[in-house]
Amino acid sequence: MTALSQKLRQLTQLQSVLFERSYNPTSQHTGARFLRARLRGPSMLRYYPQAVPKRDLRALAWEMNWVDVAEEARLDDLAALKRRGKGAPRKIPSDRKKARAALKAAAAAEEAKKGGGAARK
């Protein structure tokens, strides 16, 4: 090692101390570049355009007092039909719904019986 190269090395060492740089004469991999690089997740998530959920849109419309003219007209027509007795027929309750209603009625009857007994006592 010549005197000049040794001097240069000392110089870089001193520089690294003075300017708070890491002294790495052998260019060892330190993994610092993985820590230095920006995080890519947030921009990755922004690639696909975000769809606004229908519920939010409806809430926004309500807030902003937007009126859907066609929808209003449709509802008005339906109301008019119903007033004239020309609305959609009543739905026949499904078997499951009937069973549930029967159960509920039985439970209510039971409750009433109990409550009535307690009152009489």
Binding site: T30, F34, R40
Partner: protein, 100 residues
């Protein structure tokens, strides 16, 4: 309505974002030549233990309309066919059909 390929890609992107910091830390340890070989090996093992949906290389820029993975024109994020449809419909400012 996005199709399943887009939804899966979005799931990957979410996973990448959620685990990015931890992955980076392990990666830096594994690549740091100043550390003990055993430590670096353990860090690499931890890296390998992350799920598939946390790896940034699994993310692919798909067509934002059709979800196609190939033939996507990056500037518009559209596959070549969706690009043609949008361009002919005049939805892409500055894009003209060439003729010579």
């Amino acid at each position: 309505m996005p199709n399943i390929r887009i939804l899966r890609d979005v799931a990957v992107r979410k996973g990448v974002k959620a685990h990015e910091v931890a992955r980076r830390a392990y990666l830096a340890c594994a690549r740091n030549q100043a550390l003990e070989p055993a430590v670096r090996y353990q860090a690499q093992l931890q890296l390998n233990n992350f799920g598939r949906y946390t790896r940034p290389t699994v993310v692919r820029n798909r067509c934002t309309v059709s979800g196609k993975g190939r033939g996507v024109i990056g500037e518009f994020g559209l596959s070549r066919y969706q690009f043609r449809l949008a361009a002919l419909a005049g939805q892409l400012p500055g894009v003209q059909k060439a003729s010579w």
